[in-house]
Subunit: 225 residues, 2 copies
């Protein structure tokens, strides 16, 4: 469902160029459960933003579900993204003056789905926030905000779920509950790709891809997920 | 240096009250190195905001360095805070349209320190960001933003360092480097209090205080930090 060839991403800042991604080749098939690891600044979020159709590469090719993404207009990209991808941002990106429930309803509004309220409430229940639906982000703890972002990413039942450090602010037990949720979605044949820096979180996945300085350093199956 | 008795913090939302802290008693002596752990939503950040003089409790007493905080005006509180405390926020709280260097200089401007530029550059070098000083937060990775927040917290050489999940977005090796920095500061007799959800990060500290539902559930020394 994801195929990239020769992917490059440069950030040009004045006379300085940061090569965030250098010639990345990767294939992820439908139903896989992949962890992306690597040092801080190695290009993980940049890679997730490209495969999540939130940013365009400087060079290289990307096929999402067999369709080449380069040729799409921004509107087509947004439409594909809303329909097929659920994205959990490293910094949550919740609307600050909006309740948790309304934040989770947002993807359903774009998709024109009818029973938004009920489906958003169910998604929040699934991440353990049934008691916090009417809180705004600044009335929630860091880990609770993170879980609202996860609920928003799964509410539209996307075929591809991308999570950038989705357990970064969760204690071990809540992190386990969230990983159980991702494992359940993967059993339903959703493709799940998570960035994490925690080895025991990565070992809930089936494959670990390690980045270093903008390149893929290794790509190994997990022995016993 | 930190003493709290009967500390309570309630959030009132319409007809609903969230008891974020319930009757917390705790003492932390100068030069201690304490980890605060506990489930998501258990009151860790609320506690850190109170002892960091960023928020006032609903009830109870707090002595910072022997001085009772209740009696202080907002201005006195801000002055004590800028002079004695370095705070690493769970969500970094960097100024978005300002470079990393200028963000780190900020506490030095409040304190009226002269050679701000040099000291801010040194603090950024210490967290491994010497090459990223002129990047703005949106031009930095999640873990790099987190490290700018750490540099800003230590640049004014505070006697008390409070970090709320300071390694939440850092890979293992960068996380180790940051913990080595905190251990070094603690060897220089700074008091360090860190919230973390990672057991191996907590074991770099000398004492683990666990929160649950707004109360302290346990308070144990670490066997071999
Ligand atoms: N401004 C607020 N208004 C209402 N409720 C709040 C507010 N801030 C926090 N809370 C609630 O108080 C409780 C404690 O929050 P706190 O941020 O201290 O938790 P935490 O232990 O830091 O959690 P995490 O590990 O997820 O960061 C949470 O249940 C949260 O929903
Ligand atoms: N908008 C930008 N402008 C300039 N440089 C950027 C920008 N965004 C990212 N970078 C740089 O590109 C590199 C890769 O960033 P990226 O966010 O992908 O790293 P990461 O692996 O997600 O790191 P972390 O684990 O810390 O989140 C970093 O060195 C960063 O400084
Ligand atoms: Mg990142
Ligand atoms: Mg918190």
């Amino acid at each position: 469902v994801i195929k990239v060839r020769g992917l490059c991403k440069d950030y040009v800042m004045g006379t300085n160029v940061v090569h965030a991604l250098r010639d990345v080749d990767l294939e992820i098939h439908r139903g896989e459960f992949v962890a992306i690891m690597g040092p801080s600044g190695s290009g993980k979020s940049t890679f997730m933003n490209v495969i999540g159709c939130l940013d365009r590469p400087t060079a290289g090719q990307y096929w999402l579900d067999g369709q080449e993404v380069q040729g799409m207009t921004d509107n087509q990209l947004a439409e594909v993204r809303n329909r097929t991808i659920g994205f959990v941002f490293q910094t949550y990106n919740l609307l600050p003056r909006t309740t948790a429930l309304k934040n989770v309803e947002l993807p359903l509004m774009y998709a024109g789905v009818k029973d938004r309220h009920k489906r958003a409430a169910e998604a929040l229940e699934r991440v353990g926030l049934g008691q916090r639906m009417d809180h705004k982000p600044n009335e929630l703890s860091g880990g609770q905000q993170q879980r609202v972002a996860i609920a928003r990413a799964i509410v539209n039942d996307p075929v591809l779920i991308l999570g950038d450090e989705p357990t970064g602010n969760l204690d071990t037990r809540t992190g386990e509950e969230v990983m159980a949720l991702f494992q359940e979605l993967n059993r339903q044949c959703k493709t799940v790709v998570l960035v994490t820096h925690e080895q025991d979180i990565a070992e809930h996945c089936k494959r670990i891809v390690r980045f270093r300085d903008g390149r893929i350093q290794s790509d190994e199956p997990v022995a016993n997920p």
